[in-house]
Amino acid sequence: MAEVTRERWTSRAPFIFAAIGSAIGLGNVWRFPYMTYEYGGGTFLIPYVIGLIVMGIPWMIMEFGMGRYFQKGAPGVFEGIGKKWEWLGWWPVWVAFMIVTYYTVVIAWSLRFAISSLTVAWGLGQAGAEGAGDFFFGTVLQLSDGPTVLGPPVWFILGLLAFVWLVIFLIMFRGARVIGKVSIFLVILPWLLLVVLFIRGVTLPGAIDGLNYYLAPDFAVLGDMEVWFAAFSQIAFTLSLGMAGMFAYGSFIAKRADVNNSAVITSLSDAATAFFAGFAVFSTVGFIMQALNIPVGEVSASGLGLAFVTYPVAVSMMPGANALVGVLFFLCLFFLGTTSAYFLAYGGVAVPLMDKFGLSRIKATLIVTIVAFLVGILFTTQGGLYWLDMVDRAASFYGLLITGALACLVVGWVFGPGKIREHTNETSDIRVGAWWDWLIRIVVPAGLIFVMVVGGFMKDLKEQYSGYEVGALGGSDIIWILLGVTLIFSILLSLIKTKTAGGGE
């Protein structure tokens, strides 16, 4: 096996910003604020912070720590535990690959809307507000009737997808050194844009009502299991864990540098970004409620509906600077998405390929770029949204939760978390106690399985996911097939002999 020198973050700041950039993404804008509003307002932050302490931060320390300990991406880490566990390192690589293929398409939609915002193409005033939904589903997506009616790609989106991948490739083909430097810029920029959007939002009429819906506490909900599920699910999905990439990012940390403190800073920065984004989002929701004279329940305040329908409605109705606000909002989504996308593509997929097959960085990043772009064409077709929904359910719900739970169980019960704790404590600003071992052994995997079961596993078993039908198969069947096929490919990859001892440069 060829021994090679591991690439390194140049200092703490590039690493922290790269990690924050991977964690903060579209979900911070379109998921967290809605969850807070829906599950008890300000009270939601109590289970959220508890979830962060007992699940999110320990899990992140584990992924950073294991990456640093073995100096490898996810497959190399589990190969290091034992050859028979290597497949468990490849499964989240497939999760990262599946996610990045459609996540880049959503980034392309954001760019499409940034361009369309220049002229507020869906219309101004009441007409624009009424036409925003048709603009997204009809003009932008040209959405067909179902997943079997694919039609041709939407060429505008396909062109933008190619541009998005060009940007990602140009950032990642030089590795951690460039990723770290670019991340400082690409994390601070959306923060500044959120400040502008916050100022615009809170100066709109009705903003106070929206913020009141966002944050008014309801302590009665603390006894409700659904609220705890919501908080733990947000933790599970927001930190970009369970997607292989954090093992790789951890492997680039210098051998004598801090791990634990960086994990806490990353997690808290992610939470602060999401909390702040909620002010920009819900002040705007309040404005729409007043401008259209509708109750809060009728405003779509999460997911694609918030980003690509509700926010354009607000842009149409604003008393001034409509185009500017639209452009800034969608550029903000573009930057937030891009930092997560190159994390998935590089840390999640390219680094494991370099580690395993001894590929040069340029070759590995080029392969990932081309193959992921080609797969992503599916999601630019007229039926692409349906497939995006199913692949999202398979990868970022089941894939992430299953592989995350299994990884913690193997580290906790086979490898021994004490070794990692001592390894990271030795060089970290903050030390963790033996209690951390039990969080990795029991609490984190139990939390992830809890989220999976309560989040719809039984429902997906009983009925087909979202009622989709693809020939004789239903939506849930497609999800199980995707999970099964990626598991088989993971096992097959683990049977191939590893060509490098170190990976990286």
Partner: protein
């Protein structure tokens, strides 16, 4: 209702920024960033 939202905002920012402030104050107590 509005008072609750304001108090929530203050408390949550205190927790998040206080936590970040604590972490930042600990920087440098661990190891070096160069091998």
């Amino acid at each position: 209702m509005l008072t609750g939202a304001i108090v929530s905002t203050i408390v949550i920012w205190l927790i998040l920024l206080g936590g970040l402030g604590f972490c930042i104050s600990r920087i440098g107590r661990g190891g070096e960033w160069e091998d």
